[in-house]
């Protein structure tokens, strides 16, 4: 069985079929990219996986467990983290507390222990901090620890969002357009980090991306979508030369 599987996934808004019977599988340890024109239903698939929308039809499996009807907050607990297309950070908090929220799924202390700040809370806070520092080092975020998000430039926020997702120590990470709004150097950094996530941290990556050079550099496999349907699936070069995909992009 596959590591992560979507079966006949559909999302309808009234008559609009944003996602229409999409099936795909992600193997453990691979980087799979989803490409397609605007409005093809790429982000909707992510929103279905992280349960922002309930699917109209279809099922989602992760590690052979049916997660279609898990509550949204449980998805992170299973080891699936995500980033957002238009950054969703906690604006009025410091970078450090943003990243510590990423650790939320690992917190075990109860309200009473926290009110009294018992030694167990102190110990687990230090443990969380240590993990957060590893991510900070991995993504070169050292200068920003105590800065408020609201004062940081877009490119840095993008990295912090990735860092927050990594802090939850995910098994599968969903990246929604990781390079949008980044300049060439920042995109280069991003591509290194994505590959390192796979090779060093052993994380499986599912990514929505428009930048084809980034897709070519990092992906093991690519899925092309249009109008909510799968057009083609395969290696980056196969998909890009597929006649349906060429037609979809050129509008023929």
């Amino acid at each position: 069985m596959s590591y992560f599987r979507a079966e006949n996934l559909s999302l309808h808004f009234g008559g609009l079929k944003a996602v229409d019977s999409v099936s795909f599988a992600v193997e453990k340890g691979e980087i799979l990219s989803i490409i397609g024109p605007n409005g093809a239903g790429k982000s909707s698939i992510f929103n279905l996986i992280s349960r922002i929308y309930p699917p109209t039809h279809g099922k989602i499996f992760f590690e052979d467990q049916d997660i279609t009807h898990q509550p949204a907050y449980d998805i992170a607990g299973l080891g699936i983290a995500r980033t957002f297309q238009n950054i969703e950070l906690f604006e009025n908090a410091t970078v450090l507390s943003n990243l510590l929220v990423g650790r939320h799924r690992h917190s075990t202390t109860s309200l009473w222990q926290e009110l009294l700040f018992m030694p167990s809370v102190r110990a687990s806070e230090k443990l969380h901090r240590r993990r957060v520092e590893q991510v900070i080092e991995f993504l070169d975020l050292e200068p920003y620890r105590d800065k408020l998000i609201s004062g940081l430039p877009y490119g840095v926020r993008k990295v912090i969002e990735l860092a927050r997702a990594l802090c939850s120590e995910p098994k599968l990470i969903l990246l929604d357009e990781p390079s949008s709004g980044l300049n060439v150097e920042e995109t280069d950094d991003m591509s290194f980090w994505i590959r390192d996530m796979k090779s060093e941290l052993g994380i499986t990556v599912l990514m929505v991306e428009h930048d084809m050079s980034l897709v070519n550099r990092v992906s093991d496999r690519v899925i092309a979508l249009n109008y909510g349907k799968v057009l083609a699936m395969g290696s980056p070069s196969e998909v890009q030369s597929h006649p349906d995909v060429v037609a979809a992009y050129l509008g023929a």
Partner: protein, 291 residues
């Protein structure tokens, strides 16, 4: 049965009052996405203006009425300029707090200026009643119903059929974008406050024969108009009217058929129940945030 109809009509009349105040909320909300907690107090002020022009200065009723409404429109613009404009574009909570503060200020100032006695305005239709069979309907209540329906229709057409109305809706959706598209956002906001204050003034003068003019009347009625606006979905002009009538009817029925005390809380209980089932009100529509 007769009792029921009588209660229904007086409930509708009361509800139209709530509807008129709710209409003021909705106008400002629709155009600027600001919730004006001082709306009830603007209505109260309208009543005092009416009293000043008609009873103190001895103007003809209709002329005094017009003067009061015009004065309120000017007052609305001034209030907007002084307290609302400096914080346009800031989070909603700041603006809510400013209007609460404004309401407090107006209420106490009215009390200090006009005193705290119940004042009365003589109107051409204070005494008259309309008899249909054994049903007795007071003219002053009917006048409120008629005025509400007319105002609602006019404002509805204004918002949906005129360019200025479209500009108002646009600036509520996205102020900055509307500004870049050449809509004079500041003037639009100013006009909407003027209209809203004028509506409140109309309500205040019409209400004078029914509830008297008193500095606290705005608070009491304003707080009842809130559930009305929320029931109607806050952004909808017909919704405000329907919500107001619903609240009015519920209140008058609860006052008649239920034990004492229910009259005042029944509207709020209904409101909470509606919010539980339909958090966006009866006529509102809820759009998800896109991520």
């Amino acid at each position: 049965m007769l009792d029921f109809v009588q209660q229904l009509v007086s409930g509708i009349a009361l509800g139209c009052v709530y509807g008129l105040i709710a209409l003021g909320f909705v106008l400002i909300y629709k155009a600027t996405e600001v919730v004006n907690f001082a709306q009830g107090d603007l209505m109260m002020l309208g009543g005092f203006f009416g009293f000043t022009f008609i009873s103190m200065l001895g103007f003809n009723y209709w002329f005094g009425f017009a003067c009061a409404v015009a004065a309120m429109a000017v007052f609305g613009m001034v209030a907007e300029r002084v307290v609302v404009r400096p914080i346009l574009g800031y989070p909603q909570f700041s603006i809510i707090m400013v209007t609460i503060g404004l309401g407090f200020f107006l209420r106490s100032m009215a009390g200090i200026i006009w005193g705290t006695d119940d004042l009365k305005i003589d109107t051409p239709f204070s005494q008259g009643v309309l008899k249909i069979g054994s049903l007795v309907l007071a003219h002053d209540k009917l006048s409120v119903i008629a005025a509400t329906v007319i105002l609602c229709t006019l404002l509805y057409l204004f918002f949906n059929r005129t360019t200025l109305g479209t500009a108002m809706r646009a600036s509520s959706e996205n102020m900055l974008a509307a500004y870049y598209m050449g809509i004079p956002v500041k003037r639009v906001v100013s006009i909407v406050w003027a209209i809203s204050a004028a509506v409140a003034g109309t309500a205040g003068v019409l209400l004078a024969p029914i509830t008297f003019v008193h500095s606290n009347v705005g608070l009491v009625l304003g707080l009842k108009a809130f559930p009305a606006a929320v029931l109607g979905g806050f952004g909808s002009i017909p919704g405000a009217l329907v919500g107001g009538v619903l609240i009015g009817v519920i209140e008058s029925m609860a006052g008649f058929y239920l034990p004492q005390g229910w009259k005042d809380v029944a509207p709020y209980i209904v409101l909470l129940a509606v919010l539980l089932l339909k958090p966006e009100g009866l006529f509102g529509h809820h759009v998800r945030k896109k991520v």
